[in-house]
């Protein structure tokens, strides 16, 4: 059998490295003719559930950046709030790269309400461009007001 993947008349067999913890158990996940999945090589229960999910429906959190209308902050980082099916990632990325978002945005603000059962949200608070980057000469030494305006959108 080559490259850890194979198919027999009775079902399929896949070799994986468990990523539930740093030990990295080498798992063998077998699916028999009646679609029953068994995991061997794991040292704990987390390995078994990881092995099954990875074979049945691999899911990942997707993170990316979306172009903005700002010159100072040209990218706004986003994430899916839950893992989405791995094969759906390309569709979501194409959607995100085609957008231009207007600043300000807040961390946690929703960009897409539902994509494959997950929300797409902004992960960083970004101010609009009219807010000065950092205080002009002669401003108060604390600099606190500038920071507040910079970091927190209205």
């Amino acid at each position: 059998m080559s490259a850890g993947r194979g198919r027999t008349s009775a079902g399929s067999r896949k070799e994986l490295v468990c990523i539930a913890c740093p030990i990295g158990c080498r798992l063998v996940v077998t699916t028999d003719a009646s679609e029953e999945t068994t995991v061997t090589g794991n040292r704990c229960a987390r390995g078994e559930s990881y092995g099954k999910e990875e074979v049945l429906a691999p899911k990942r959190i997707l993170t990316a950046v979306v172009p903005t209308d700002s010159a100072r902050f040209p990218c706004a980082p986003v994430r899916t709030d839950h893992a989405i099916r791995r094969e759906k990632a390309g569709t979501l990325l194409a959607d995100l790269y085609g957008r231009t978002v207007k600043l300000p945005v807040r961390e946690g603000q929703v960009l897409i309400e539902d994509f494959d059962g997950a929300r797409v949200v902004f992960t960083r608070t970004l101010p609009p461009d009219e807010v000065p980057a950092v205080g002009k000469a002669g401003s108060e030494p604390e600099g606190q007001d500038e920071v507040t305006r910079l970091q927190q959108s209205p």
Partner: protein, 431 residues
């Protein structure tokens, strides 16, 4: 020039600096933070991937989300922030009987700012090893980036560095960037690792390389970078058991971009200038159980002290450090401390001494890859504590808590002050 006086000055507004500043403020100290970027959060802001905060918050956060958990409270805590300002010098306050430090910062908007302070917390983080550090032969074309710089270009500036890339080194940033480049349309042709095992964690090998079928060449070395104006290819050869490149089996990978993920170095030029002694094992300052460096009143935490693999542990260390800095400001008596050294199979241990009456959180780097290892703490050659570890490897930091009273308080020759010589010492080793 602007002159300011504060109880504590924190150099760096990233994960370590923010957690330290908040902790000092909670203890009632007046605190200023100097940050060279025009925003707070440090490198976390370019780490848009998830995997942060599992220990600290029990949640799987992205870098910017983790940063905002500290930026928001810090902005409300009455901390003075100096952004877009670079610290150029840490000195001693002149004058008779002066107990403080002076810190000079330069800012485009404010000019020179001179701080007088009683405690300095170093929280400058680390920087990347580059092509010069690993001596790769070949021409000097455009298109060679450190992985963290490429991460900033893609995630902050919105630029894609090339169309096809080879990544040298399998550190976590390199693996994360292999996935990130793939998702922005730059084809990653290979990751080349000189060692026989990956330097990054397994989770990243699976999610960043295997998910996208990116080849990982373990035990291989890049022998040459080719190209005149722009990178055109790299040449790669396997290593023999003697560690020599086997040029007869060399192969060529065409690409226009090379990323280097070959390790991080604590950024200590400022510390050295202030007379802070550096530990060659970590690249960061020697610190005692109070996280105080060899220079009185100067403390260090986070990646400037030693390179961590999880930001959660940076936060924990910054709080511990700032708690001790607050005690120093309050004039707490200094307890006798036992020097701590790295024993067999241990590359480095932090902190470098132990205060027996208090809990000490030690972090270690292993020199070996091993399952079912045993961590042993000896004082004066006598075993005082041991712990079984399921798995150790150089790329995974080991955290070990020594409870109060684990080592005897009164030992022969135990120093009664920070600088006194000592007979007894403590050693941490792996078996």
């Amino acid at each position: 020039m602007i002159a300011r006086s504060v109880d504590a000055l924190v150099v760096g507004g990233g994960s370590a600096g923010l957690a330290a500043a908040l902790r000092l403020r909670e203890a009632g100290a007046s605190v200023a933070v100097v940050e060279r970027e025009p925003f707070l959060g440090g490198i976390l802001l370019q780490c848009i991937h998830s995997g942060f905060g599992l220990h600290e918050f029990g949640e799987d956060l992205t870098g910017p989300e983790y940063a905002e958990r500290f930026i928001r409270p810090a902005l409300r805590a009455g901390i003075e922030f100096y952004l877009d300002a670079t610290v150029t010098e840490i000195g001693e306050e002149p004058g008779e009987g002066a107990a403080g430090r002076t810190v000079i910062a330069l800012s485009r908007s404010l000019g020179v700012v001179r701080f007088t302070t009683r405690a300095v917390v170093l929280a400058m983080g680390c920087r990347e090893r580059n092509r010069g550090n690993v001596a790769i032969a070949g021409t000097r074309p455009a298109g060679v980036f450190t992985a963290g710089l490429a991460q900033r270009l893609v995630n902050i500036e919105g630029c894609v560095p090339g169309r096809s890339a080879v990544i040298i080194g399998s550190g976590d940033i390199g693996l994360i960037m292999a996935r990130r480049l793939t998702l922005v349309g730059c084809e990653v042709r290979a990751v080349v690792e000189i060692q026989s095992y990956p330097s990054g964690n397994t989770r990243n090998i699976v999610q960043c390389l295997n998910d996208y079928s990116i080849p990982l060449h373990l035990g291989h070395v890049v022998t040459r970078i080719e190209g005149r104006d722009r990178v055109e290819a790299v040449r790669v050869a396997p290593l023999s058991t003697e560690g020599e490149a086997m040029t007869g089996r060399e192969f060529r990978i065409p690409c226009d971009t090379v990323l280097l993920s070959v390790g991080l170095i604590p950024e200590n030029e400022l510390s050295r200038g202030a007379g802070v002694p550096i530990n060659e094992g970590t690249g960061g300052p020697w610190v005692d159980a109070d996280y105080m460096t060899g220079a009185r009143g100067i403390f260090a935490c986070g990646n400037v002290l030693h390179v961590h693999d999880l930001v959660d542990f940076v936060t924990e260390e910054a709080r511990l450090c700032a708690g001790r800095a607050a005690a120093f400001l309050a004039g707490a008596p200094v307890e006798a401390m036992l020097p701590v050294s790295a024993g067999a199979n241990v590359r480095s241990v932090v902190p470098n001494s132990c205060a027996p009456s208090r809990e000490t959180v030690f972090t270690l780097r292993s020199l070996v890859v091993k399952n079912d290892a045993r961590l042993i703490v000896r004082v004066g050659g006598q075993e005082v504590r041991a712990k079984r570890l399921a798995h150790v490897q150089p790329s995974e930091m080991i955290r070990f808590v020594l409870e109060p009273g684990a080592v005897p308080q009164a030992l022969p020759g135990m120093p009664s002050s920070r600088a006194a010589p000592t007979v007894s010492s403590m050693e941490v080793s792996l078996q």
